[in-house]
Symmetry: C2
Subunit: 355 residues, 2 copies
């Protein structure tokens, strides 16, 4: 006597229609909220729907409308508070517009990212917000426009891609903050990032896959250069041993005889690790080591010294990206935007002149 065997015992428009003694079309009209129906029929159908506990199958709806009301978000790692905040503001905006968010972590690994993007597109997301792990590997993003899938790039840009992008003024902020270190009198500086070391090409130039980090490094080096710092005294510390973690690179840096007197950390995780290792080594901060970190993580103001940070407007960036994406999904066709958001330095206690 069962009616549906394999498929869930869910009730469909047809069931409601039967119960209300109307055609499937009519029931669909009132339940779907389109077309016209008479008051009487509408009430009858709604009553039946309530009685049968009808709940529309959004999948089927998406199937015919071609819009899934879902967006995909691919970030590096949701555990990182930077992305946590971003995802939060994105989901808030999305929900407010009736969208849901499918979340994927790339672990800053390009292959994982591509796979995630492909799966999400397969699931027919209406759009994608991506923090591309690499500005060089972009094949998976190139063809998305033809797939009816809009894309917004978050925090990292890929100029060749002609897509909506929100970034912060990484280069300018890094330069400004480096200059601040220089002005305080430091002349052995380091920029530390968890980005993995990639082979630099023939000319020996660094090719940092993460565009935001790359631009920060540019800003750092430019400022160092203008400040007359010798190349060997403006260190770039990358994650030389991904399996062992960034910790060993930081150890190496801190243990070298002429260690830097000031460090610029490219995110709060990095800053935390530096802070820990300095504590372990009894390196007095800020007197023996000045530190500035990107991202105003919540804990940076309770350490002693409290950490001077470059505050990235993460939530606003997230909001912008989601709003822009939804505009696109709703049909906006203006040329791709590149939205740059200004960062703000929050001066605390972790920067003083070198001993």
């Amino acid at each position: 006597m069962e009616k549906k065997n394999l498929h869930s015992s869910s009730v469909t428009v047809a069931d409601v229609a039967r119960h209300a003694n109307v055609s499937k079309s009519t029931a669909a009209r009132v339940l779907g909220g389109y077309g016209v129906t008479s008051e009487k029929v509408r009430e009858r159908v709604q009553a039946s729907a309530k009685a049968l506990k009808y709940r529309p199958n959004e999948l089927a709806r998406s199937m015919t409308t071609g819009k899934s009301k879902t967006i995909g978000v691919v970030v590096g790692d949701i555990e990182n508070s930077f992305f946590g905040i971003a995802v939060r503001s994105i989901t808030d905006v999305a929900n407010a517009h009736g969208f849901n968010v499918i979340l994927a972590n790339s672990d800053e690994n390009f292959d994982v990212e591509r796979e995630a993007v492909n799966v999400l597109v397969g699931k027919q997301v209406d759009g994608l917000i991506v923090t591309p792990a690499s500005r060089y590997e972009i094949g998976h993003l190139e063809n998305l426009k033809s797939e009816n899938c809009k894309v917004v790039l978050f925090d990292r840009e890929i100029p060749s891609l002609d897509m909506d992008t929100v970034v912060s003024d990484d280069q300018e902020a890094a330069a400004a903050v480096t200059k601040q270190l220089l002005d305080a009198g430091h002349c052995r500086l380091a920029f530390v990032t968890a980005t993995e070391e990639k082979d630099s090409d023939a000319d020996g130039a660094l090719h940092i896959p993460t565009s935001s980090v790359g631009r920060r490094i540019e800003g750092f080096l430019t400022a160092c250069n203008e400040g007359g710092i010798a190349r060997e005294d403006s260190l770039i510390v990358l994650n030389s041993d991904p399996k062992a973690g960034l910790g060993v690179s930081i150890s190496k840096m801190l243990d070298q005889p002429n260690r830097p007197t000031a460090i610029l950390a490219s995110d709060s995780h990095v800053a935390l690790e530096i802070f820990k290792q300095a504590q372990e080594r009894n390196i007095e901060m800020p007197s023996q080591l000045s530190l500035i970190a990107f991202h105003n993580a919540d804990w940076t103001e309770v350490t002693r010294p409290a950490i001077t940070v470059v505050d990235q407007p993460v939530a606003q960036m997230g909001r912008w990206s989601a709003e822009q994406l939804i505009k696109r999904i709703e049909g906006c066709t203006e040329p791709a935007l590149r939205h740059v958001m200004k960062m703000k330095v929050i001066n605390r206690q972790s920067v003083v002149p070198p001993a």
Copy 2:
């Protein structure tokens, strides 16, 4: 000359079939990887698929199979590192099994949670991992089983619901850690949580909607009681003014003449706020104020004093919940499990005898 007008220009099995000169059924068989096909045809179809850049529409697939290969995760707030870690481990397990995760934040608000659950079920998720905001409002969860949607409760239990649940030993850990404070000689204690104050009923008993917090409070009170602490010296501080935030409740507590000499913070956000306010007031820690926090947040070991914490195995809990959910989705029908994970106290420097 366009072929598909409204719907995206995506290529379907039918397109591939036409191109490969086989029937739709046959093309579907090779592309869907089911049934049998001859080697020759298989190669031909695959070649056509490649040529046309065919990509399966997972929505359509879900439509007929009844499985969306998607799970919904409803947490309080993804910005909170506790949930960040949980969601990370959940998505990892999910992905490893071919599932995607739709994320929703409830803000610990029951109405938002119910709405989220309904939307997710409408999107035909195969299962749901929920951190229910309230153990009293459960109507939205009760009927899910009949909807072909499995559920696992994360970090909070609802005994009446008979669902798979993973929690930690909140009551025991809270009692143990309270006893530790007592043993150190404290006799004015407070338990602080961001949970909102609800009207207590006629008998004046507290009814904490968040089960984990409720059990921690029970543990705290039990230990206080056994330690002979007067009821008025075992303070429970709730979020009395949600609009203004927990900060004001903490201020009030800290500013009262007989403020507690030891505090148990129910999560790391709370602990951070307490730490900040103590710093602002020049309350010396740990000498004038001992502190223990739930959740081993990354920053708790770099503050001075470093904070003694109750380490919850968040990642393992996340993993368990995802694995259990997937087992259910795959058909497991054993009776509902209640999995309790042990927490571990990490002793650092924030607990000393009162002055």
